[in-house]
């Protein structure tokens, strides 16, 4: 096993994944650089969501999944048998296509992760209040919501809901945030707001975002990965991918010849 490079927070070596007999990922190898936004593009069904879910091993909840290869996160192969999944998922958070706040208050949504990971008696009120304020400030919702913390999270606007779903991850101090088409349910303003938020979070977290929107990939990401039929076709700096892709298939996809 080669030493993982400290500049990378995720190293994937020869990773393959099967749903039953169907091979959804084929010998994927890639490195995600720490502290930047990487975007993942490709036609639907090519395995973007599957790859994303592999990084916190949530695929196992969706069906009969077998894997081979290696995914190293924070110097540990997360496919090893001794990996604690709750701890892994603390470090690797996920944001979904449709905002999915839980049907409880805003406050409870944000400390939900803390509650999951600590004994009831160890959680002090002041600690929780602080976690909520910090998380909401980081996603720029504090000023809007500080007087409404008892309100139901599901009654917020979609944009706020999506930011809340990001905020919900933060008290667990994740290293990596995975986002699966996080703006596809939002309008133009919502999209812009969430993109700005991603950029501001990029310094502190490694962000991997799946998107269908090429313009979005260009706006927010420094590196870009193009996938097709379970394989990585090209992984490069974003300008490189969009201005002079090396692979014919990438060119065709970017030019919109298939979607």
């Amino acid at each position: 096993m080669s030493e993982p490079d400290p500049n990378y927070s995720v190293n994937v070596r020869d990773f393959s994944l099967w749903y039953g007999d169907f091979q959804a990922l084929k010998n994927v190898s890639l490195n995600l650089r720490d502290g930047i936004i990487t975007s993942l593009i490709g036609p639907s069904g090519c395995g973007k969501t599957t790859l994303l879910r592999s990084f916190n091993r949530i695929n196992e909840r969706y069906g009969n999944v077998t894997t081979s290869g290696e995914i190293t996160i924070l110097e540990k192969n997360i496919l090893d048998a001794d990996v604690s999944l709750p701890e892994l998922r603390k470090s690797v958070g996920m944001v979904f296509q449709r905002p999915n706040p839980l049907p409880v208050s805003i406050y409870e949504n944000i400390i939900f992760g803390l509650r999951i990971h600590s004994d009831r008696k160890d959680l002090r009120r002041s600690e929780m209040d602080e976690a909520v304020e910090t998380a909401l400030r980081q996603v720029r919702l504090w000023d809007d919501l500080k007087d409404k913390l008892k309100n139901r999270a599901t009654s917020l606007q979609l944009e706020q809901q999506q930011k809340l779903c990001i905020a919900r991850l933060l008290p667990l101090k994740p290293r990596i945030i995975l986002m699966d088409e996080p703006c596809s349910a939002l309008d133009v303003d919502g999209t812009r707001a969430v993109e700005e938020l991603m950029v501001s979070l990029a310094d502190d977290y490694t962000i991997l975002i799946v998107t269908h929107n090429m313009a979005q990939a260009r706006r927010v990401s420094q590196e870009c990965i193009f996938m097709l039929l379970g394989e990585i076709i090209e992984h490069d700096r974003t300008e490189q991918i969009f201005l002079s892709p090396r692979n014919q298939k990438t060119t065709e996809y970017i030019e919109g010849r298939y979607g």
């Binding site: 909840r61 998922r89 706040p101 999951i116």
Partner: protein, 294 residues
């Protein structure tokens, strides 16, 4: 411009006909119900009162009230629910949330599904063999409640599974992705959001159990038992008891010379009990629904 063509006219006629037919069918269902209830209450009116429920029967069940039967039904249903509801709900949680997708799970699901359709007389015979004779409980409230429980719990499992399935996938995903275990997900999100459905299922089953005669006839219910009117300590778990459904059967077919109003009033009490329990279910559901919105 914009005049009705022949085609549009035909469509409109079809639309009206369809609506009429559907309304008719709905009335076909509602009118008999109203007629039945109205008829029962009319026939029962001479004796119907609170005292009728609270008093013991007199003169060989030809006069007086129905307290022993009413209270017997309450006891039977109460015991059967505290047995069947926890078992059914927890089994359903296992089957829906934990069980791996394999042949064993499929077998169990199929068995539960089929058990829910077994006629109650079959459960009655099973109860007689298993609880009364084999387990040596004798004819008793306990044996009868166990029999009712066996009868109700597949249905409770089915309805609970449906309520669990109605909790959106995205709630579970939200939990999994912050590292919640299955149990934390169930405790924190799945159960709180399916309580109303689960309770409704249980309560509807309670109603069905309350009306059954066959399963209790062989296992714990008797024609007559001398009990003081209004005595809530009349029955212990090992006693036999009277029950509304069976009492109704007895006084309508076995005892000569019962005034007509008494069986009708008994039926009204049985129906009323079921309606009250149902109404509770609806109110509960509305209350819980308004507290959650998704």
């Amino acid at each position: 411009m914009f005049q009705e063509t022949q085609h549009v006219k035909r469509k409109k006629r079809a639309e009206r006909t369809a609506q009429g037919v559907f309304l008719g069918m709905t009335l076909c269902m509602v009118l008999p119900l109203i007629a039945v209830v109205g008829f029962l209450i009319y026939k029962a009116s001479p004796v119907l009162s609170i005292d009728f429920i609270m008093d013991a029967p007199e003169r060989g069940m030809r006069a007086g009230g129905i307290w022993p039967a009413f209270w017997g039904t309450v006891c039977l249903v109460f015991f059967s629910v505290i047995i069947a509801a926890p078992v059914g709900v927890l089994a359903a949680v296992y089957l829906h949330e934990y069980a791996p997708e394999n042949w064993f799970t499929r077998m169990v699901n199929l068995a539960v599904f089929n058990l829910a359709g077994v006629p109650s007389i079959v459960h009655a015979l099973f109860g007689l063999g298993a609880f009364v004779l084999f387990a040596g409980l004798g004819k008793s409230i306990l044996a009868a409640s166990l029999t009712l429980a066996i009868m109700t719990f597949p249905v409770i499992i089915e309805s609970t599974k449906e309520s669990l399935a109605a909790v959106p996938r995205s709630f579970r995903e939200a939990c999994w992705n912050v590292g919640a275990t299955r149990w934390q997900t169930i405790r924190g999100v799945v159960l709180p959001n399916s309580t109303s459905g689960i309770l409704t299922g249980i309560i509807l089953e309670v109603c069905r159990a309350a009306g059954e005669t066959a399963p209790i006839m062989f296992t714990g219910a008797v024609f007559f038992k001398a009990v003081q009117g209004g005595d809530v300590f009349a029955y212990g778990p090992m006693d036999q008891c009277m029950a509304l459904s069976m009492h109704l059967h007895t006084i309508s077919t076995q005892v000569p010379g019962v005034p007509e109003a008494i069986p009708f009033a008994t039926a009204v009490v049985l129906l009323g009990t079921v309606l009250v329990v149902n109404a509770t279910a609806i109110v509960l559901r509305v209350i819980i629904r308004t507290r959650k919105k998704w």
